[in-house]
């Protein structure tokens, strides 16, 4: 009987002590920083959603490395005997990952939002630049290389706008940088060219003033050709009577320097001859006294300076003629009007009527503002 009681007692002791023992074992089991790891993962995921991998690459990469280190450390600790495990480093790495990922998120949000604003402004300013280029230089004789650069810049600007609208700001930034380079460089080149051209404005003004005074004093007709606005003005006694659209030499910017340069000369000339009928290929024509003495001197000086080759020859046979109205600068240096306008002008001018050809009657500032 005593033996039975002893057995029951032992069994009971074992039954109680084993769960107790297991509970003690569980209680003393090292606890991994599960919550910290979950938090780190959530923050890292949030950083990725905020495109920190794009806009805050360094911090995001560090955050990822810390998270991976935490996982690797956790994995290695789990290989050890359960009571020899230490999860302190796992927690430390998780904390570091959270810190970096949070910084990466903040940084990414601010960088992308700043970039978004900056890009929007850049797109708007480049759009405005394109409008300005078109307004100022659509009819200005730029080199084909510059024209191609402008066209390429416009396409890149459009591509940048498309990727910008998709939220791909870094790609948009790259395309905008390329577009900006092409457009700004072309604009600066063309503007410098234009500014340089308008350096002669004071001379042109003097010529115009003298032409108008002469017209007034002589009570006679005078013709002024404004190359920039492509206009032919007819004055009588110093007052403007008629205004026609004019077409010029293909390379009209600047003074004529040599034969075949497709430039329309600038200077104060006179009508030397009048042609009509079969005497001209251009319906009717008014031959100018180009080159005059000043043009010859300038040409010789250029040859002497070496800015023109010794083989260069001075141009000539510059006319105001018909066959115009094409809407493009197509002549080899002459001024083309429509046949109807030639009929009209032919009647009122005579041999000796002054013809003053200038770059522009308006100042550059006014031209740009217009």
């Amino acid at each position: 009987m005593r033996k039975i009681w002893r057995g029951v007692l032992i069994f009971s002791a074992i039954a109680v002590s084993i769960p107790l023992f297991v509970l003690i074992l569980i209680h003393f089991t090292p606890k991994p920083p599960t919550a910290k790891m979950e938090h780190a993962r959530a923050i890292l995921s949030q950083a990725e959603k905020n495109q920190a991998d794009t806009y805050s690459k360094k911090l995001f990469t560090e955050a990822k490395i810390f998270y991976d280190s935490a996982m690797a450390n956790w994995h290695n600790e789990n290989k050890r005997f359960i009571y020899f495990r230490h999860y302190d480093k796992v927690g430390t790495f998780a904390d570091l990952s959270v810190k970096r990922a949070s910084q990466a998120t903040d940084n990414s949000i601010s960088t992308s939002s700043n970039l978004k604003v900056k890009l929007k402004q850049k797109i708007e300013s480049l759009d405005a630049l394109v409008v300005q280029i078109d307004d100022l230089f659509n009819t200005y004789p730029l080199t084909s290389e510059i024209r191609n650069r402008i066209s390429k810049g416009k396409i890149l600007l459009k591509e940048a706008e498309i990727v910008y609208n998709k939220g791909q700001y870094l790609q948009a930034n790259r395309k905008l940088t390329d577009a900006e380079y092409l457009l700004t460089e072309s604009y600066e080149y063309a503007s410098a060219n234009l500014k340089n051209y308008f350096k002669s404005y004071s001379v042109w003004k003097k010529w115009v003033d003298r032409t108008l005074i002469d017209s007034k004093n002589n009570k006679d007709y005078s013709i002024i050709i404004d190359k920039f606005s492509r206009k032919c003005f007819i004055y009588l006694s110093g007052s403007k009577k008629y205004e026609f659209d004019a077409e010029l030499g293909k390379n009209w910017v600047g003074d004529k320097r040599t034969r075949g340069d497709m430039a329309t000369p600038e200077g104060m000339y006179k009508i030397a001859k009048k042609f009509d009928g079969g005497k001209t290929k251009y319906y009717k024509a008014l031959l100018l006294d180009y080159p005059n003495e000043e043009d010859v001197q300038k040409f010789k000086a250029e040859i002497e300076r070496g800015s023109l080759p010794a083989s260069a020859r001075i141009g000539g046979l510059i006319e105001i003629h018909g066959n115009g109205g094409k809407g493009i600068d197509w002549t080899e240096g002459c001024i083309a009007l429509t046949d109807k306008e030639m009929d009209m002008i032919f009647k009122i001018v005579r041999v000796g009527t002054p013809v003053t050809i200038i770059g522009s009657m308006a100042e550059l500032k006014d031209v740009v503002d217009k």
Binding site: I18, I26, L156, L317, E332
Partner: protein, 215 residues
């Protein structure tokens, strides 16, 4: 004394038994990782980035959950296996979606490219009909350069398409399309304006025969 030793051994054996029960479902982990790699190869990050990030997040959570179980005395991988099954299916869907989206983008590039080519051909025809009044011809000259740039852009889009970078090709061809359409509208408006005014449309006038004179 003998009993105490026996009890100790029994306890250790029990701990060893309890802690060793439940194995990491490695085969499923490997299969899911392989499916994620397949999705990556299918350019899921490019064509379905949000879905791909979600599946990667799920896998990260599973890896953490595995370590959580491995840290415990009594391991339980049943719920993880269910998550693995779901993530595997998700990864396979992401791969399929990426392929479908890529095909969709490819088709869009093809359609837009064909449309741009048609618009460009139409633009070339409209150019001949466009009015060449005051500055009109000069504007047409500038348009010709723009059209050459569009053609170059179409060629770049084609090169990106041939390389299989369809997103890049799509961005390029869309820009070219907008530009070509812009020119098309401009030309049609100019022609319409002239028709509205009842003016005759001037033919594409060529410069008169060059005189054999110095200029």
């Amino acid at each position: 004394m003998k009993n105490k030793v026996l009890m100790g051994l029994a306890a250790i054996a029990m701990v060893a038994f309890l802690s060793s029960c439940g194995k990491v479902p490695q085969a499923k982990v490997d299969a899911t990782n392989a499916a994620i790699t397949a999705a990556q190869t299918a350019e899921a990050a490019v064509y379905v980035p949000a879905e791909f990030t979600a599946v990667q997040d799920s896998m990260k959570a599973i890896n953490a959950a595995i370590e959580v179980q491995k840290s415990k005395l009594f391991k339980k991988f049943g719920p993880i296996e269910l998550k693995l099954d779901a993530t595997l299916a998700q990864a396979q869907k992401v791969a399929t979606d990426a392929v479908a989206k890529k095909e969709e983008v490819k088709k869009e590039v093809e359609t837009t490219m064909a449309a741009v080519k048609t618009t460009m051909e139409e633009n070339a025809t409209l150019m001949k009909k466009a009015p060449r009044g005051k500055e009109g011809a000069a504007v047409l000259e500038a348009m010709k350069t723009d059209m050459a740039a569009i053609e170059a852009s179409v060629a770049e889009a084609q090169a990106a398409y041939d390389k299989g970078t369809f997103m890049d090709a799509l961005n390029k061809i869309k820009a070219a399309s907008e530009k070509a359409t812009g020119i098309n509208t401009e030309l049609k408006d100019a022609i319409e304006k002239v028709k509205g005014k009842g003016k005759a449309v001037a033919p594409a006038a060529k410069p008169a025969a060059k005189p054999a004179v110095k200029k």
